[in-house]
Amino acid sequence: MGKRTIIPFGPQHPVLPEPVHLDLVIEDETVLEAIPSIGFIHRGLEKLVEKKEYTEMVYVIERICGICSFGHGWGYCAAVEGAMNIEVPDRAEYLRTIWHELGRIHSHLLWLGLLADGFGFESLFMHCWRVRETILDLFEETTGGRVIFSVCKPGGIRKDIDADTLSRMVKTLKDLKKDIKELTDVFLNDTSVKNRLCGVGVLSKADAEELCAVGPVARGSGVVQDIRLAGEGKYDDIGFEPIIETGGDSYSRCKVRIREVFQSIDLIERAAEMIPEGEISVPVKGNITGEFITRMEQPRGEAVYYAKGFDGDKASRHLERMRVRTPTNMNIPAMVKTLQGCDLADVPMLVLTIDPCISCTER
């Protein structure tokens, strides 16, 4: 039996874009246990509801994450709209759906680049991020921002997209498919890449369910779970089926995200065809009371938004509580499980394949 050693992994590590710390208990080159700890970038954003009115708070919530900021803004607005019984115009819901799927493409391409960087394929990393720039250009053209968009507000959206711009967006995305296909074929078919992903970090369907995994981590293990099936947005109308892979390994998680990139392009195309004319927002006035809990399918998985106003005489323009539970929170237990028994050299790959977003997790 080898000697047991504890290796600190992170919070600063070349493979980690954000700080998370793992104590890896190893014996020889095998990881026996991984103990996570967080809190290095806790910003207390939820507590800011005490200082910001519910109409201003959307700007704070968007800043939870620089990758899925649109989805966070939408989730917050949906929770507020639910608490206040506000019906959002159809056109606004379609545009929210389009921007949300654009965010998914951008997030998955960013992750694919980080994965390539993680296994040392630098040119592949650069190409992924080159293609991603086109998505950011589309965001900039339609919202004015590349990272923080500020187009969602309680009651609808702030900016419309005209028909010409929408059709140009769809054409750009269709043209981009060829580039993305070339890139993703490398992830799916290259022997050296497959050697790093296939059979590594297997999470069985039973374990994924027991550990309450979400998003591509759960779907890569065969769990049919996607909040777009029953959540906000126009997914019912445009037609949506979740992407499921059954391998449960790092390759399956990668494949789910790759297939979702193409699916998101198709969803945007259908939404652009079906979008109705009309208003993009309704006025929202007065104090906020009541409570509402809702969920969004962010690129990394299910995110929960809970808005609660003060009751009775205490009702004001401030929320009593705003809670955001992000997907990485839910995938840390699954990550800890897949790390048990893996080779030390595979730890960076495994940590990456849950697509951890620590800014989201800590808020």
Partner: protein
Amino acid sequence: MSEKKYKIQDIRNIAPVDLLSQVRDIKDDGYRFVQLCGTKKEEGYEILYSFDKEHVLLNLRLIISDEDEVESITKEYWPAFIYENEVHDLFDITFKHNALDYGGNFFKTAEPYPWK
């Protein structure tokens, strides 16, 4: 047209003493644990537990005093350790029998906590 699933708001108030038995029943019914969150009230705290089955949420709400300790649900749902440690560190609520208790060291912040 039937109501969309996400609009169903099933929030049940329960007594702290009933928490474990309720959670056990929920687990037996095949629910997935989604989240728990704490809210500071004028007197004590409110804790909201959420569970999912077929994309519909079931929520349990507990009201506790400042001194109360809460039974951990990690025996039924191990991933809840993340939330119980988070709520302990940020709100100073103690969870008894937590399967993975960080002893107040889960969050590492520059400012002292908990914030009340």
